[in-house]
Symmetry: C2
Subunit: 460 residues, 2 copies
């Protein structure tokens, strides 16, 4: 009996083998397409289902790609021929909300946005806010250690997860982390799982650290500036002054061009860069006033508001960037992060690489935490090698600045070739050995992030 | 040539073999004494010194115990016969403070308190604040994932470290983590190192995430209450209301008895429990007022102040707890953490165990995060087995409540026998395998936290 037959008998009704289901698993929002169609898609309903799939996969040496909503930007959830896809997207229950303990226990398939709407009535929220939050799952957010717009003030996903239940490649279930705020029992395998991109285990339940809703009104600032360097300089001054914006976003001139074409407004007439800031909490108005002073001291002009509708219009400009790029072709969103005071240098490098390769690289930045998204628009499904070369130059420079290849999108398939540049050979080998501890047969998300011991990579 | 001779030739002037130096390394603030005197103490001055020691140790199969200031409470930094001690306490330099990037790069031997005084002039601080901060090192804080009083609002050490340089058992140097706020390149080995208690590598440099100093005055609340249950109930209500005290400490009646004997004040005449709260930041006064309402609604009385001197007196009551216990005998401070709303149940269990064993177990709690310190005072150096039995009952109950053996002190030697109860056999084996990846010869801090593969523990 082949693996698909075995799965179908063991898990009747949840094993899909129709062409549409399988084709959808060949890609994600990176646009990358796997080499072939996977064998089956299993839509797990429970931890036991996931254990059953893993046991059968191990017994038959079949690779398993775990998948949430398929919104990844680095090809981490893509499945190819000979592989089975284990989806947790139907496991959407909120098992517990404890206001007293400021935590929620959830299944991995719930969408981030749906969770936050449910938490709202308890006066709580879960801080990770990737741009994809309305269409991405909590499990996927955890598997990628998702970031978003609010990280400088409210932290990344790693800081918002207390504990996980994880099914190992062979079907065994472990509980890692703690239900408590503190806990130092042994190695922090919960943190190790967060951002492991489906290569160490399948996340089947999460205990999330919640925050009380932030009280008071939000102050919003918008500024069209003469250059993105001015914007990066203002952002650096705001951070250096110890002010803590909830959100601080910066768009360059190219982004405004694409946005203008998309929305029909001549945004370039307003400036060569757009800076958007929001302050929340008890100090919001005072902090916004201090930021306006910093902006005015540079000679730039800015507007501020506490009116929600006006603020939403200003935020919408930022939200439309990626839709405007996607409307123009296939989109590759890069994701370097650099120390906050190196943002100007990174923007300058983007301009140099644009010139060298004759490309347009619209770039937006989470300016509060130095995370830039240089973006490439092209025609067709495959990223042209020239664009990878240009992106590679940006990666190398980000590393020279003390930064990283990927602030929040992960390595997946698309950045694997640069991983060793950042980690160094010794650490890369350690990481491959850790992979072998959890998944000795190399069955979980093979080919993603790093090569198993015995395949590719540096000598070992 | 034996290892001590080799070390002395390779590292002239920093290898101590005098009795006083070696005897001091046989214990820490847990009071536990190792079985014998270590071979040598090496006081490293640089990363290269640490690498040299590790290379020689690996070449001669000599165990290495890394050590900071020896303030650990679980025996994690204790060295015995046949072992060498690698101290980083002389590596105290602050290599960089970047206000713009809100980070500092430091050597591991600097004291937490000294670092924070140096950061103060930059308008920044490092949040971890173990009670030992004036006498404990940053490297030690990281090795133990130290907690302290401010964790509920400002997080534990793991949330305050961006990157580490680590020397492996064989002398190789790796850099883990990121200088940036975000970064998702491969597995999070920086988080794995934090709290690893010297068993995976030697921390030789740390890039710390700083915070801007909190502006405004601090509001302090003190209340003597009729029972510790009342205090735990108030603390739970404050958390459930979404209020965020910077510090919320609770002392039981026994603690007040010891404190009274030590300070000559009749604190028990004032109440059977003491609750201390501090609020900081822009919302401090409003939050303190809301907390006073919660307290008054229970029928209890409390005082509040924004006067610094009065506040210091109230805080001093809390600070004197452990000195008052140490004055009465040898002190074993236990360290369970439970979900916030289970604190009352945990205090009740302490009272039951007191009765059952005829012991006094003064207990203080970081009530903002559910971390309780049931404490045992006895005569002599060895913890009587009866006290371990009583402590074991508390551990078991904390686990039943969804809590942990250790909120902030670590496993070290003293809690090793209970580790498997919390982790389960599968996870314990994974942890031992991870240990083997980093330290295949089992030379780093042997016998601490977990047994190497091939020794003790469950089958593998």
């Amino acid at each position: 009996m082949d693996i698909v037959e075995q799965l179908t008998r063991a898990l009747p009704g949840i094993v899909r083998t129709d062409a549409a289901s399988l084709e959808a698993c060949r890609t994600d929002r990176s646009g990358h397409l796997s080499s072939g169609r996977p064998l089956a898609l299993i839509e797990a309903r429970s931890i036991e289902d996931v254990q059953t799939v893993c046991r059968l996969a191990t017994a038959t040496a079949t690779p398993v790609v775990s998948r949430g909503a398929g919104t990844g930007l680095s090809g981490g959830g893509i499945a190819g021929s000979g592989e089975i896809v284990l989806s947790t997207v139907n496991m959407t229950a909120i098992l517990e909300v404890s206001v007293a303990n400021q935590l929620a226990v959830v299944q991995p398939g719930i969408f981030n946005g749906d969770l936050n709407r449910a938490l709202d009535e308890h006066g709580m929220w879960w801080a990770p806010d990737p741009a994809s939050k309305e269409i991405s799952t909590v499990g996927g957010n955890i598997a990628m250690n998702a970031g978003g717009l609010l990280c400088a003030k409210y932290g990344v996903t790693r800081e918002a997860v207390l504990a996980l239940k994880v099914v190992l490649a062979d079907g065994r279930l472990i509980s890692v982390g703690h239900r408590t705020v503190k806990g130092v029992t042994g190695y922090d395998l919960c943190a190790l799982m967060i951002g492991s991109e489906g290569t160490l285990g399948i996340i089947v339940e999460a205990t999330l650290k919640l925050r009380p809703l932030v009280a008071g009104s939000v102050s919003t600032i918008a500024a069209y500036l003469d250059s993105v360097d001015t914007g990066a300089g203002i952002a650096a001054k705001i951070s250096a002054a110890g002010l803590q914006p909830a959100l601080m976003e910066l768009l360059d001139a190219r982004s405004l061009e694409f946005l203008g074409n998309y929305t029909g407004q001549d945004l370039r007439a307003r400036g060569n860069a757009y800076l958007l800031i929001q302050c929340d909490g008890a100090a919001a108005q005072a902090e916004a006033a201090a930021m306006m002073e910093i902006i005015h001291a540079t000679g730039a002009k800015a507007e501020s508001t506490t009116d929600e509708e006006t603020a939403n219009q200003w935020v919408e400009v930022r939200r439309q960037v990626f839709p405007s790029l996607e409307a123009a072709g296939t989109l590759l969103v890069e994701d370097v992060a650099v120390p906050r005071d190196a943002m100007t240098a990174m923007f300058d490098k983007v301009a140099q690489v644009e010139d060298k390769y004759g490309l347009m690289i619209p770039t937006s930045a989470h300016a509060g935490d130095g995370n830039l998204h240089p973006s490439f628009v092209f025609q067709g499904a495959e990223v042209p090698e020239e664009i990878w070369e240009a992106a590679g130059e940006l990666f190398t420079y980000a590393l020279e600045l003390g930064g990283t290849l990927t602030g929040e999108h992960g390595i997946g398939l698309l950045k694997k070739r640069w991983l060793g540049d950042e980690l160094g050979e010794t650490q890369l080998l350690l990481q491959r050995q850790i992979k072998a501890v959890f998944d000795p047969d190399g069955l979980l998300n093979p080919g993603k992030v790093l090569d198993p011991l015995g395949q590719g990579g540096p000598a070992h």
